[in-house]
Symmetry: C2
Subunit: 418 residues, 2 copies
């Protein structure tokens, strides 16, 4: 795939994250205006809600882009997803005759505020990165027992908390929680001392299901992907998670990128899951490549300090694709709905600098990271800003998601003060 040229020249820059090939879906507002659907192109947001209202985009009998969320458009089904992409390609392509009409619907990205791009119906988080599972397992149980016995057979997941999903840029307050360290005689209620990030991709479900679906059907149900940071309180998690899994440790916040990059935009970057170490049951077999070659990185900036890249990896590192995860999710008959969000699990590569969490990067705090500006990090400190970045590199163009960022606010002095 090569660059599709637009009359918006900024979109033709090989480094621009929003070329015509991309057309990612977000929700934006201008000062004093209501949040509405927009699409990023070059250094602008195209007000597709305004275009639909003005009759420049006709997708269905009823309006689909007027809500502050992409759920109605997703709910309209894949033919409508394609109709929108095709219509926008026509309007924005070099030589389009509607260029003059579109000027009123373009707003500089630098002038708008971005909101959560869709209403998160339910949120599920997986544990499908083998290096991550192996690293964490080794720390807790030793390398011989690192992977749980089911890990090579099941895309292990747990239900997360949709109410805690926030858009990039939302500050994240260090949580309180019940903690009990190995030296503590009794548990105590205190601010989390081991607050961490998890570098993940999120898949957005755009089509509902009411019974088990195949992996191929699951792939068709996915509307697009976001960057996702599953903030994690490691000390709360260690004390609470046996026997029913993570709960409050993962409920403070999950940050996603402001743009959903559609499956159509990612089509040129499909990649296969790695060779199976044990054969999968047929219901989980991947009929075609369903991972994506997405380069990922994490930057940490201390308060007032410069940003340092602390991790560089790729979504291809996952052992299970989102389609495999979604297919497994439906085996029990669990109904899936438009707006469901599936976190991939932490994406760690095989090398030390490709680990997607501080838990792994600092090996449980035993090998703190040294920051170039001075200081070290085992876990996150107040004022730290974490930024996840993702991109696909095509021939002469880049597909980006927008940054997925959050700054750590100090814990409340007294969480019950009113």
């Amino acid at each position: 795939m090569t660059l599709i040229r637009s009359w918006l020249t900024a979109a033709n820059d090989p480094a621009c994250p929003f070329p015509l090939n991309n057309l990612p879906c977000g929700v934006f507002s201008t000062p004093g205006g209501a949040p509405r659907c927009g699409v990023a192109i070059g250094d602008q947001v195209l007000d597709v809600a305004g275009m639909e209202k003005a009759g420049l985009l006709h997708l269905a009998e009823k309006p689909l882009l007027q809500a502050a969320a992409w759920n109605p458009l997703m709910d309209a089904g894949q033919p409508v997803w394609e109709k929108l992409r095709s219509a926008l390609m026509g309007h924005l392509r070099e030589g389009s005759d509607t260029q003059d009409q579109l000027a009123a619907y373009l707003h500089p990205l630098s002038s708008v505020r971005l909101h959560l791009p869709f209403q998160v119906t339910e949120y599920t988080d997986f544990y499908a990165g083998k290096n991550h599972a192996f690293n964490v397992g080794t720390m807790f149980r030793g390398p011989e027992n690192a992977l749980p016995p089911n890990w090579l057979h099941i895309p292990i997941g747990y239900n997360g908390r949709a109410s805690s999903v926030v858009v990039s840029g939302t500050p994240v307050r260090r949580p309180w929680g019940q903690l009990k360290g190995p030296q503590d005689e009794a548990p105590r209620f205190a601010p989390c001392a081991r607050f961490d990030l998890e570098l993940e991709m999120g898949a957005v479900v755009g089509k509902p299901s009411s019974g088990p679906v195949t992996v191929a059907e699951a792939d068709d149900m996915i509307f697009g992907y976001v960057l996702l940071n599953d903030w994690s309180a490691r000390d709360i998690q260690a004390w609470e998670y046996v026997p029913l899994g993570p709960f409050q440790a993962k409920a403070t916040a999950t940050t996603i990128s402001p743009w959903i990059v559609t499956k159509a935009a990612l089509g040129a970057f499909r990649a296969s899951t790695p060779a199976r170490e044990k054969p999968l049951l047929p219901y989980l077999e991947e009929p075609r490549p369903m991972l994506y070659d997405i380069q990922l990185s994490v930057e940490l900036a201390t308060e007032g300090g410069p940003a340092t890249e602390i991790c560089r990896t790729n979504y291809r590192e996952m052992y299970y694709s989102a389609a495999q995860q979604l297919a497994h999710h439906t085996t029990s008959g669990c109904p899936m709905r438009v707006g469901d969000l599936l976190g991939s699990g932490t994406i760690s590569g095989a090398t030390k600098d490709s680990r997607g969490s501080l838990l792994e990067l600092s090996w449980g705090g035993k090998e703190p990271l040294t920051l170039p500006g001075g200081g070290t990090r085992s876990f996150l400190e107040d004022g730290d800003t974490l930024t996840l970045k993702g991109q696909c590199k095509g021939e002469g163009y880049t597909i980006g998601f927008g940054d997925c960022t959050g700054t750590i606010l100090p814990a409340l002095a007294d969480p019950y003060a009113r």
Copy 2:
């Protein structure tokens, strides 16, 4: 508290589950009509949606009872909850002068269809029954290690799947899933062979929160309670749940009663949690009685056979109240929303006949139940109908929830046949 007499004489029967003291909230439809809010009284449903539309109930500037869910009314806040209860008391009390006006809004319960009473926003299930946790722990780890170390300190919970919550009467299809028994060399994909019930109460959150709340505040946030059956696939659960907790084993269905019994109706039946074996951290201390004296039972009817009571217990058996669970749920800053549903965890008493799951009643299948009509049960078989019942006994009156029932359909022959 004694009976509050109504001019609807059926409501004054001491055995009637819906006296004027109760006024539970449901959603009903008459043949050809749209689902709308109703309140049970005697052997009738009062069409409160119709009354609001006709100006007989004025609760707020905007209508609150026209949706097919009680969420808008809950969202309006506790003063409005009280206003509704007080207005209905006025209309339905013996001697009311609006009796003639109300006739048009009463429908025999036997003539209506009942729907899910509220839109379930997110669903959390707890593990707060000590006898249940001890029984299950004993089966899996022996009596010395039965309770996990955190159990006496944390109301252990996990996020469930809101999309799988259904109203009483909805058939429940036996799920497929990934299984691996102790004798199996490799996992297989097959219908669940150990399908079970869990007798629980559900608390319905009626007020949102955005940060940690105290137990007293949490109690204020609860709108009411339902009966809840958390259907569980024990064989799927055993293979999947380490390390991240139950996932597909609990995602087939969770059945709730058609009526939400409000906190106001339950006020006379408040009971304290039992004495603490280890002191709780202050954030979890119960400032006043927050459990309820609700008599619970489970009936099993084989296909075409009579119903047999297989369990009799009481909600008082719980170690943690819903208010304590909700307070813990918010410690991390996790936002709670109107319509969130909290399952209590399985309610088992100390005696064998008071155990709230077949896993416990048949001791993991080792001691099958003998049914009076012949046959035995270790786990549920196709065609079995399970019915949960709950009641509070006041002086001369009963508070009921309506049955919480479901019949097991056989697993699909091929879950991927289209």
